[in-house]
């Protein structure tokens, strides 16, 4: 890897909180532990001698429990917090040496941040929030609003430009946060646990969205999380933090294969446990339903209304009897018969608690979405191939 590929280099970064820093520095040099230093000097060692490099265009993930120092590191990268010692080199310039104006320009041009609890301004609407970074730079109103609209569209909030922040859901708010950061067209995007405040389904949505945007805009992303699942899903490089130290830095594959110590191993194992998704998590409510006694024209109309080319056939007890395709329905209309004469009964069926792993082979062969049948034999949901695949992302 050539040096040109490295956009950000962090060397021996430390960050201490408290009065008696020099005594604490000495204890660090002697190899004392975080707890011991706090007890003796009252100084909290938030970040302790951390070094890493970030390649241009990669998603770099730092993971750790709360208090492990990951949020402090990310705040040092845009100088929201000053490092106590060490260097942070952006394209070979030490950002801690910047004067006021240089730092302002760096923040305006090169780096933008997305916050855990969004950091949005409730006195501005969506458009005003997204345009904020450009407004600070002094971009003319028409121009910045055009750019903001473009970004709002990209994160999928088109039409909500003049909504108040209070009217939006958590997921939407973070999309606004993301759009606001992207509107500045930064080289680096810092994301401090951006999806932690969102519920699991929305979180998975946002992770997917982030990957999509990353594909399109090719930013360098430094992503903070406490969820190893999220870290492995998003990160090309993952660093595990513990008590202010970076204990392992590797690709997810290498980290799984060779965890540096038991702590890392436990962390990775906790991911597998949390990853058990079943059919009920990803199924959707079936929409296009017809009854056994319905005729061809009714089935065709139902398909047209839902914009699909097949309909599920059910009986009086909501049990799934089969599927009628468009061709089948046309035949039924021609012959003037009911749909049960032409339906296909050979369908993949699963129960709601079938695991995703077991769904994979079924989805691979299925011609129609997989039907989910509950214990009372009722038809409760359908799972498309796409849903199975995206649940693995």
């Amino acid at each position: 890897m050539s040096d040109n590929d490295i956009i950000l280099r962090v060397e021996h970064l430390s960050r201490l909180f408290g009065m008696n820093k020099s005594a604490a520095q000495k204890m660090i040099a002697e190899g004392a532990q975080k707890d011991e230093i706090y007890k003796k000097t009252g100084v909290t060692v938030a970040v302790n001698d951390v070094s890493f490099k970030v390649r241009r265009g990669e998603i770099f993930v730092l993971i750790g429990l709360s208090g492990s120092g990951k949020s402090t590191i990310v705040r040092c990268l845009n100088m929201l917090q000053r490092p106590s010692s060490g260097k942070i080199l952006f394209e070979d310039t030490d950002i801690s040496q910047f004067d006021k104006k240089e730092l302002r320009d760096y923040r305006r041009q090169k780096i933008a941040m997305v916050f855990q609890s969004f950091g949005l301004m409730s006195h501005r609407d969506v458009l005003g929030n997204v345009a904020y970074g450009l407004e600070i730079k002094g971009v003319a109103k028409a121009q910045r609003e055009e750019k903001a609209r473009e970004m709002i569209k990209m994160v999928g909030l088109e039409g909500l430009e003049s909504k108040n922040i209070g009217e939006l859901s958590g997921g939407m708010r973070q999309r606004v946060g993301l759009a606001r950061a992207l509107a500045n067209d930064p080289d680096i995007l810092l994301m401090d646990e951006p999806f932690s405040a969102l519920d699991p389904l929305v979180r998975r949505d946002m992770q997917f969205e982030l990957l999509r945007i990353q594909q399109k805009m090719n930013k360098t992303i430094i992503f903070i999380t406490h969820d190893i699942d999220e870290a492995f899903k998003l990160g090309q490089t993952v660093g595990i933090m513990r008590d202010g130290r970076l204990i392992q830095l590797d690709t997810p594959e290498n980290m799984t294969a060779n965890p540096a110590d038991d702590y890392v191993k436990e962390f990775i194992e906790s991911a597998d446990k949390s990853r058990i998704f079943s059919a009920s998590h990803i199924m959707m409510t079936p929409t296009c339903l017809v009854h056994l006694r319905d005729t061809g024209p009714i089935a065709l109309k139902e398909m047209q209304k839902n914009g699909v080319s097949s309909a599920y056939v059910i009986n009086n007890h909501l049990e799934l009897m089969g599927v009628i395709t468009q061709d089948g329905a046309i035949s039924a209309r021609r012959e003037g018969k009911t749909v049960d004469q032409y339906m296909i009964t050979d369908l993949p069926r699963v129960s709601p608690d079938t695991s995703i792993n077991d769904l994979m082979p079924i989805a691979a062969d299925a011609r129609f979405p997989i039907a989910v049948i509950d214990e009372q034999n009722r038809f409760t949901g359908i799972i498309s191939k796409a849903a199975v695949i995206s649940s693995l992302l």
Binding site: R75, A112, F115
Partner: protein, 289 residues
């Protein structure tokens, strides 16, 4: 000897009182042109405001208050009630005195906000400024008003002018406190977000902190108005005409009824000022939430 232990020795006296008297007197003599310039300016403003108020016909004032009441509560009954309160003040024969009182309140609140708002911003941004200003604010709030009425009379002579000064001293505290409190309590991440986009201190202050703190600041404005109202009666003691003077005179003559009517008028005026400003705050806050 036992006497010395039982009661505080009468010989131990620090005579600061006369020193302060001399200082104030010297100040009034030497700074005469300075203080009279301030007095002329404030008196001019008082005249302008009072003239403006008298120019509004009584029926228009009542109609406007009624409409404002309806506008903020969306209930016709409230509007009628507010209009009736103002009408009652007129029926008591206190309309002109009410305007004089209102003039003092308006001018005092104007100066309180003019000075209080920047001071509040300053102490929200600097710990050192806060350490200096906070004890002064405590002093201003707890010192009995009579204590500083006298020096203001010496410096500005009797009448409305010292009343305005005394009212400012009393009513500036809430706007300072609430401004500083509001700005300090703006969500930390929102401020961080602004800084992280490269906003200067002033940009963050005017584009994020003040707008975000506005509901709290407006509560401070409301408090300042109410404090100013509550000084009205006290100010009659230093010769400020208005509703307070009526109460003072009637009390001296032991005329209960004559004292009660202006008392009720003050209450009505206070209620109107409070509800109308609070209504505006709620409207503003409702937009944000």
């Amino acid at each position: 000897m036992t006497q010395l232990l039982l009661s505080f020795p009468s010989g131990w006296r620090l005579d600061i009182g006369t020193v302060i008297d001399d200082a104030i007197n010297a100040l009034s003599v030497n700074g005469q042109s300075f203080f009279s310039a301030i007095r002329d300016g404030v008196l001019w403003l008082l005249n302008v405001v009072e003239m403006g108020l008298t120019l509004i016909p009584w029926w228009l004032a009542i109609a406007l208050v009624g409409l404002a009441g309806y506008f903020i509560s969306k209930r016709i009954r409230t509007g009628i009630l507010y209009a009736a309160m103002l009408f009652a003040i007129g029926l008591f024969g206190l309309w002109d005195l009410m305007l004089q009182t209102l003039t003092i309140v308006i001018v005092s609140v104007f100066f309180s906000l003019l000075f209080g708002f920047p001071i509040g911003i300053l102490i929200s941004m600097s710990r050192r400024a806060e350490r200096i200003v906070r004890p002064i604010l405590d002093l201003m709030q707890t010192l009995p008003a009579f204590v500083y009425l006298v020096p203001t009379i010496i410096l500005f002579s009797v009448g409305k002018m010292p009343a305005v000064i005394a009212t400012i001293i009393y009513s500036i505290v809430p706007i300072i406190r609430m401004t500083s409190h509001g700005i300090r309590n703006v969500d930390k991440e929102v401020v961080e977000a602004s800084v992280s986009f490269g906003a200067s201190r002033m940009q963050t202050l005017f584009k994020v902190q003040i707008p975000q703190a506005l509901p709290t600041i407006m509560t401070g404005v409301n408090q300042t108005i109410m404090m100013a109202m509550s000084m009205v009666v006290t100010c009659a003691l230093i010769g400020a005409n208005g509703l307070g003077m009526e109460i003072l005179v009637a009390t001296n003559r032991m005329e209960v009824g004559q004292a009660l009517l202006p008392g009720i008028a003050i209450v009505f005026l206070a209620i109107l000022l409070d509800r109308l400003t609070q209504g505006l705050i709620k409207k503003e806050g409702g937009k944000q939430k």
